[in-house]
């Protein structure tokens, strides 16, 4: 009668048999599926790549550092400048960043270039270099940069106009640059440090900066702040009025580029300028970053919200269907969720089966109370705690001479009386007559014996399949645990009783 279920080894054998037979199955999906899927995937990938590249370009044109990095051409930088000036409302950090950048560039032209062109202590003592000084214009390119101590008097003797122009910039952006820059020149004044780092930033990008304007020109450059700054170094070259010494100054800046003004000195300046507003990881302007990396960094801002990794939330497309049309509803309800599973409650029943169990436990507790007190009137609470039992009760009332009770009377504590010992004894012995008599007296089929065992578990443990079916038919809950927490289903598994397990899974069918 009872079939011995497979043990672990047999399960492995069955799986191996399945795999062997499955491997011999020549069935394959249609080739058209692969073609269609791959064509669609390629189309989606192309669209996604176009969108991502468009986002990258948009980020490069609107951001401060991307504009400086990716705008070597004048036309591009002009467009970037226009874009940047057109969007100050959305990026309030743009204006101070632009102003700071312009001031830094102007300070470079005013302080550092004369020092580089001079090359000696006496030339550094000279007044700020102008484009008309012939001896400075012939400064050799290979000449090493002036020693750090030579720059100190230059920085301290800076004219008032240059100090004010440097002070007009973002002080927060220029001051930390002195500590962040590891260049050979360590100016003592903020303006000097800003000049040194700004020089490094412009030359390190390989852009010839001829914006080393004389003092008068630097004031003009400062007044033309926003457009030139956002346009990048190339745009600032256009803003300087041509002079006789422009070429020589350019040579001097190139020589400075060869004297170990590294990017490590430039990055802190630019990051600091955009730091108050930009997110910390968004170092899109770092020259070493690729476009893809930059896109990844800014992705959280631009991409649509990604659903959380919980699979449940991602399954919103699942169509709610009536529980009675769900093929798995009966099986699922037969295990731990006796109530009909609707889509609205499926998540709760899946993720937290505890309420159902607690409801059953509450019902059992209520019935136990009724046993001890022999209460003939059910409490509303006990009736409310077993709605699932009412829903799963058989429609055919038991034949009895008692007043006609509703179909749920046999399973709910509302109409149940105390379970006599004969009931558990009948379940234990498989006495169908005794069980029927108990059913007729509206016994609570889920009540626990004094030993803490339900009638269903007793019938399972003693392999009385007919008794199990009768109990299930009269509303016994296959999920109600006994006092030790053993559920009927688990008891059937423990006893390797396959037919009883099937009956439990199918709720007596």
């Amino acid at each position: 009668m009872n079939k011995v279920p497979p043990n672990a080894e047999q399960s492995t054998d069955i799986d191996q048999i399945y795999r062997r037979l499955s491997g011999q199955d020549p069935g394959r999906p249609g080739e058209w599926v692969r073609r269609r899927v791959q064509a669609y995937a390629a189309q989606q990938a192309a669209e996604r790549a176009v969108r991502s590249s468009a986002k990258t370009q948009d980020g490069l044109s609107t951001g401060t550092m991307p504009a400086l990095r990716a705008a070597p051409a004048a036309a591009t930088t002009t467009t970037a400048a226009v874009t940047a000036t057109e969007q100050p409302a959305g990026k309030p950090w743009l204006v101070p960043a632009i102003a700071g950048g312009v001031v830094v560039v102007a300070a470079v032209g005013f302080f550092v270039v004369p020092k580089l062109m001079g090359g000696s202590g006496e030339s550094s003592k000279a007044p700020p270099v102008t484009a008309t000084q012939p001896e400075i214009s012939h400064a050799p390119i290979e000449e090493p940069p002036p020693p750090p101590q030579a720059s100190e008097p230059d920085a301290t003797e800076a004219p008032a106009s240059a100090q004010t122009s440097a002070g007009a910039g973002d002080a927060a952006s220029t001051q930390p640059a002195a500590t962040a820059s590891n260049t050979d020149a360590t100016p003592t004044s903020p303006a000097g440090s800003a000049a040194a780092t700004s020089q490094a930033s412009t030359t390190a990008r390989g852009v010839t900066t001829s914006n080393t304007a004389p003092p008068a020109a630097s004031a003009i450059a400062a007044s033309q702040a926003s457009a030139q700054r956002s346009a990048g170094p190339a745009a600032t070259a256009n803003s300087i009025p041509p002079s006789a010494g422009a070429n020589s100054l350019a040579h001097a800046s190139e020589s400075a580029a060869t004297t170990a003004h590294s990017q490590s000195a430039t990055t802190p300046v630019t990051q600091r300028a955009g730091a108050p507003m930009a997110p910390p990881p968004a170092t899109a302007g770092t020259p070493g970053k690729t476009a893809a990396e930059s896109r990844q960094l800014v992705a959280p801002q631009t991409q649509p919200p990604v659903p959380p990794p919980v699979v449940r939330t991602a399954r919103a497309t699942k169509q709610p269907l009536p529980a009675q049309t769900t093929p798995s509803a009966s099986d699922q309800s037969g295990s731990t969720a006796p109530a009909p599973r609707s889509t609205a409650t499926s998540a709760a029943s899946k993720t937290a089966p505890a309420p159902d169990t607690s409801a059953a436990a509450t019902a059992s507790a209520a019935t136990n109370t009724s046993v001890t007190t022999n209460a003939s009137v059910a409490t509303p609470a006990s009736a409310a705690t077993s709605p699932s039992m009412a829903a799963t009760a058989p429609a055919t009332p038991p034949p009895s001479a008692s007043p006609p009770a509703p179909a749920t009377a046999a399973s709910t504590p509302a109409g149940s009386s105390a379970a006599p010992d004969a009931f558990w004894a009948a379940a234990k012995s498989g006495d169908m007559t005794g069980l029927q008599a108990a059913f007729d007296s509206h016994v609570d089929v889920n009540s626990l014996s004094p030993n803490g065992e339900s009638a269903l578990i007793l019938a399972i443990q003693h392999t009385h399949l007919d008794a199990v079916r009768a109990l299930l038919a009269h509303g016994a809950n296959p999920n109600t645990p006994d006092s030790r927490g053993l559920t009927p289903i688990r008891a059937a598994r423990v006893h390797n009783n396959y037919p009883i397990l099937q009956a439990l899974l199918h709720r007596g069918k």
Partner: protein, 170 residues
């Protein structure tokens, strides 16, 4: 997590960034298993082809959201399971009987098909998710929205029946 699973997540991430070759690699890796899961559940090759296409098109469409999925295979078989169940429900609501499994060309396939056909729908689904999808009981419980005990029992019953149907013949 093994290397294959890591590669699955890496591949779907690459595809989400526009690498179509990564998707091809994913498709070739899982195509047959997903198709077998569908075909042995619905019992109809044409319907299985349609469902397979739906599953992979949905994956291609929502690849960006799949970047955050911890296990790609779980998500893949979740999509396949949902579509299979939907097809089953549609058939039931329209009164269309489940297709009789057509005879296969070889006897072993016929044996397997018949044995699977004698399993209950949920038992077969759980077993195929386990054996074809190589999913754990917890993952199957999540996919089928069932308690773990229920999944265990379904697997147990499915194996018992298959042991009865296949064990003797093999």
């Amino acid at each position: 997590m093994n290397t294959t699973e890591e590669n699955d997540e890496i591949l779907i991430g690459r595809y989400a960034r526009g690498d179509a070759a990564a998707f091809d690699q994913l498709y070739r890796r899982h195509e047959l298993r997903v198709w077998r899961y569908l075909e042995r559940n619905v019992g109809d090759q044409d319907t299985s082809d349609d469902l397979l296409q739906d599953v992979w098109l949905a994956l291609a469409r929502n690849a960006v959201s799949l970047e955050s999925v911890t296990r790609f295979r779980t998500r893949l078989f979740t999509l396949a399971h949902d579509r299979m169940v939907q097809t089953r429900r549609d058939r039931a609501s329209k009164g269309i009987p489940a297709p009789s499994r057509p005879p296969k060309s070889d006897e072993s396939s016929n044996t397997l098909s018949r044995a699977l056909g004698q399993l209950g729908g949920d038992e077969r689904d759980a077993y195929l998710l386990h054996i074809e999808g190589q999913l754990s009981i917890g993952e199957i419980a999540e996919i089928t929205e069932s308690p773990i005990d229920t999944v265990e029992n379904r697997l147990w019953v499915a194996r018992a029946k298959l042991h009865e149907l296949l064990g003797e013949k093999s």
